[in-house]
């Protein structure tokens, strides 16, 4: 992709924003994204976003942890180097529950966090595309990606619609990539 043009409207309240998101979608216009300074409840549903599958990843990582711990400890204690501790059986499952539990939690938390960072494109050194410095403080933005050949009437139309929906400011911004 070459240069990308983004048209965005700024809102100063999440309740107005929520209504605007529904209003714009009702008019059949596709919203590219919405930026908010804090999680706004109901926004994902209003935008028609699918529920994230992150928690499924958490379950898979957790199950991997459980199996890793059980398999590894069983192999060590019964096959690789069995040692008799106080007459207990080599395969003493109840004593292994704590470590199995800890590794389940560890694998799940670490795996899920890494998945989260990957999906959200978060890593040290990534240059964010900041539309407006107030978006992490007290402003909310609804954005529309424009193509090179988007007619100016279309832009005007979106502008008008944003203002009608309660946007306090409307801007355009170019990004290199």
């Amino acid at each position: 992709m070459s240069a990308k043009k983004i048209l965005y409207g700024l809102f100063d309240d999440e309740e107005i924003l929520l209504k605007a998101v529904k209003g714009v979608r009702a008019e059949g216009v596709r919203i590219s994204d919405v930026h908010t300074p804090f999680p706004v409840h109901g926004l994902d549903e209003a935008m028609g976003l699918r529920m994230t599958k992150l928690h499924s990843a958490g379950f898979i990582f957790g199950a991997t942890g459980t199996l890793t711990a059980l398999a590894f400890i069983t192999w060590i204690s019964t096959v690789n180097y069995p040692i008799n501790y106080g007459g207990k059986p080599y395969f003493s499952l109840p004593a292994w529950i704590p470590i199995t539990f800890e590794l389940t939690v560890l694998f799940s938390a670490v795996g899920m966090t890494l998945t989260y960072l990957y999906l959200n494109r978060l890593a040290p050194g990534i240059e964010p595309r900041v539309l407006d410095n107030r978006l992490t403080s007290h402003m909310f933005a609804m954005t529309f990606e424009l193509e090179e050949d988007t007619p100016s009437e279309k832009r005007e139309e979106i502008r008008k619609m944003l203002e009608a929906q309660g946007a306090v400011e409307v801007h355009e911004k170019d990004f290199d990539q």
């Binding site: 926004l43 994230t52 704590p98 938390a109 960072l117 959200n120 410095n133 992490t136 007290h138």
Partner: protein, 478 residues
Amino acid sequence: MFVSPIREPLIQGHKTYAQMTEDIIGPVEAKPTKTWMMAVTFTGLLAIVGFIMIGLTITYGIGLWGLNKTIGWAWDITNFVWWIGIGHAGTLISAILLIFRQKWRTGVNRSAEAMTIFAVMCAGLFPLIHMGRIWLAFFIFPYPNTRGPVWPNFDSPLLWDVFAISTYFTVSLLFWYVGLIPDLATVRDRATTAFRKKMYNIFSFGWTGTAKQWQRFESLSLVLAGLSTPLVLSVHTIVSFDFATSVIPGWHTTIFPPYFVAGAIFSGFAMVLTLMLVVRKIFHLEEYITLAHIESMNKVIILTGSIVGVAYITELFTAWYSQNQYEQYAFINRSMGPYWWSYWGMMTCNVISPQLFWIRKLRRSVVFTFFMSVVINIGMWFERFVIIVTSLHRDFIVSSWSYYTPTVVEIFIYLGTIGFFMTLFLVFAKVAPVIALAEVKSILKTAGDQYIGAGAKHGHHEEETSKPGHYETLIKPQ
């Protein structure tokens, strides 16, 4: 959204989102004050002295401590359990209270989580230096080796502890940092100097707050909370197994896991209060950490303090009812033997004093709460000392009976960890927002004093909620 009239506002001063950013990010941007510089110098020096003492211990061995053949665990393990206990409040506040949908959590969770991480760091130091030969510390991990391979003993609570504490540290760190990313992005976007912009750009990981990012953020927070809840209970349970699975009278009891967990939350909340009352004053955050927050924490202190009190009395009852003379002697000796002062110190600080919080006026007094928070932490330190040292000093053979007093080295290692902890906390409070800004903003409409409580003046909120459709989007719990 309906808010019960008995709910007190959690954000005072008719705040707007812009003002909240200003109030909470402001202290990060301001030049360090003289008080901060002096405090950090003092705690830093204390930490350095502590590390010198640790260096001496590693060089000359733990013969520098007051341990002897009978009393092989004393201040070191006491300090370890004390710090781990303190480290329980952060995860309790951020995980268990998230699941219980307690909104007051948002005002204190960030600092409590930071405190958890720093406390666990201090705790981890003690078993390591107690090993004597710290350079062989990697022996505790299961790795293929040339000695057989001989693996660590997976049936031992000491190994469970290694896994529990390292998992707890990792998960707490992830939970804390994931929450910190959006707030660091706020600092980045407000930065006026190139250096600050660059640094916060690196640490905020390129966050822009899109709807999808927040959706995943919420999903991750909820699952991490769900994982951390049993985790926090497991950690102190496993620490208590270090004692409970042994055959020492006074340690060998099944009551230990719940008793240790309650004690940990009790001392952790006390430490959160100690720190928050200072932070609130220095950074002028009285409008975000209100008397309602302090009262809620004091209620948790009454509950956990009472559980601890019941546990102490249950131990005495069980010793009598068991008719086991060794168990009975252990408890008579605790309260009337050579260490009677530590037992009664513990009883006064932990059982009697938190009951004063039944009085509403005291629960809502900042000065009294601060005083009590220090008393409770002293009491909880005594508890661990009582359990560890008094149970050990009367060995099975009378000729092995002994007495323990700490050496200067041990005292300064302990004080050094307090200095280290405070230094880390002071640095954290200077470079990162001490209040979870994004989370506090998300409760403004349901907990701000212009929307609820006696001073509420915005009527429009109720009107809007009466419309169908809108209500459904807001009814989703926070």
